[in-house]
């Protein structure tokens, strides 16, 4: 019996995941300073609750809804245009934090690169990208499950295995850095669920 089949018999349950690097993003937020947070995932109540009381603007693009479309596009320029069309107008501001959740696992190297290029002009110097990358597991749900902040240091992970499982890309650090031009992995941490937590830093140099 394959691992995928055994999971189907017993649906994955939601669980809480400690995410120290996610927490480290928000802890130094100065309440007097305005920040722009770009959420690549869908809108979620937990993130809004986390940001309340801070001078934050939250941009949400809902990448999971676009994944099928992005994967169907072959030409990088068309992929770039689709991503750009989903970005809210900059309104003269630059993004300080990009939240990638588990979504990079669902893009190949080329699409990650196009995404990074599309975001590049929107990022403030020193902006960071947080991402959770499948590391230990060879399989992951075919569609990204929801990850919702319970508080700054913990996410509620709700795997969605209704569409079965697929192989994980198991991106290594060097491969991700190659796919994310202008970004370097500043910190990484292996999490309790076998995912690798990454904090990338954008540099203009």
């Amino acid at each position: 019996m394959t691992a995928a089949a055994s999971v189907h018999e017993e649906p994955a349950k939601s669980y809480e995941l400690r995410v120290p690097l996610f927490q480290s993003i928000f802890e130094p937020f100065d309440p007097e300073r305005r920040y722009v947070v770009l959420d690549l995932g869908p809108a979620r109540s937990g993130l809004i609750e986390l940001l309340v009381g801070l001078r934050c603007r939250l941009d949400v693009i809902g990448l999971p809804d676009m994944l099928g479309h992005l994967q169907s596009l072959e030409e990088p320029e068309r992929i770039r245009q689709a991503i750009k069309a989903s970005l809210p107008p900059p309104r003269g501001e630059f993004v300080n934090v990009v939240l990638g959740w588990n979504l990079l696992n669902y893009l190949d190297d080329e699409r990650i690169q196009v995404l990074a290029q599309a975001l590049k002009s929107r990022l403030a110097p020193g902006a960071c990208l947080h991402a959770l990358i499948e590391y230990s597991s060879r399989h992951m749900p075919a569609v990204p499950g929801m990850m919702t902040p319970r508080d700054a240091g913990n996410l509620l992970v709700e795997p969605d295995e209704n569409d079965g499982l697929i192989d994980t890309p198991r991106y290594a650090r060097a491969r991700l850095e190659a796919a994310l031009p202008g970004m370097r992995a500043e910190q990484t941490m292996l999490l309790g669920n076998g995912m690798q937590e990454y904090l990338f830093r954008f540099s203009t140099s």
Partner: protein, 172 residues
């Protein structure tokens, strides 16, 4: 944690779906744009409004609530005291008090209010701004008299941060 201001702008827990939100003015009166009605232009007034039809343009009910009902389709900029969204919205929502986005909502545009609650499952693409110093909020409600102060903390005397701050390095 988070060095948050002790602001009055706490997000309220989303109401259970079964619990109806307050959607009528104190005298219980509420205007309704029915499902078969199409409005193209500028709507102003001083009573609560439920939109179940199609509205394009601008909706300004700054002292009242606007509800975009489950069959409502709005392509407009909406300014109100409180805004509830169950239906489809394309444009900018600005509320002096609160914006409530239900899980049936589909929004593309911006949400600006001190308090925003969003039920998981709602489809949203755009910007959510809860900054008390938001330019959009100041511009729309320059003479507003919200029931809650914008900030509960006293002015520290520090210079205000500019809206565009390229030097911030969260996570550093």
């Amino acid at each position: 944690m988070f060095n948050k201001k002790e602001s009055s702008s706490a997000v309220e827990e989303p109401r259970p779906v079964s619990q109806p939100a307050r959607r009528e003015s104190s005298d219980g009166h509420r205007a309704v744009i029915g499902a078969s009605i199409h409005v193209d232009g500028e709507l102003r007034g001083e009573e609560d409004l439920l939109i179940e039809g199609k509205v394009k343009g601008t909706v300004e009910l700054k002292k009242n609530s606007v509800t975009i009902g489950s069959s409502g389709e709005v392509k407009a900029d909406v300014f109100a005291h409180t805004i509830y969204v169950d239906g489809k919205m394309h444009g900018n929502l600005v509320a002096s008090e609160r914006i409530v986005v239900r899980k049936s909502a589909e929004i593309r545009g911006s949400i600006t209010s001190l308090r925003v609650s969003l039920e998981d499952g709602a489809r949203f693409n755009g910007t959510i701004d809860m900054d008390p110093d938001s330019e959009a909020l100041k511009k729309a409600f320059s003479n507003r008299q919200s029931s809650q102060p914008v900030r509960s903390t006293p002015n520290t005397g520090k210079p205000e941060a500019k809206d565009t701050d390229k030097s911030a390095q969260p996570g550093a």
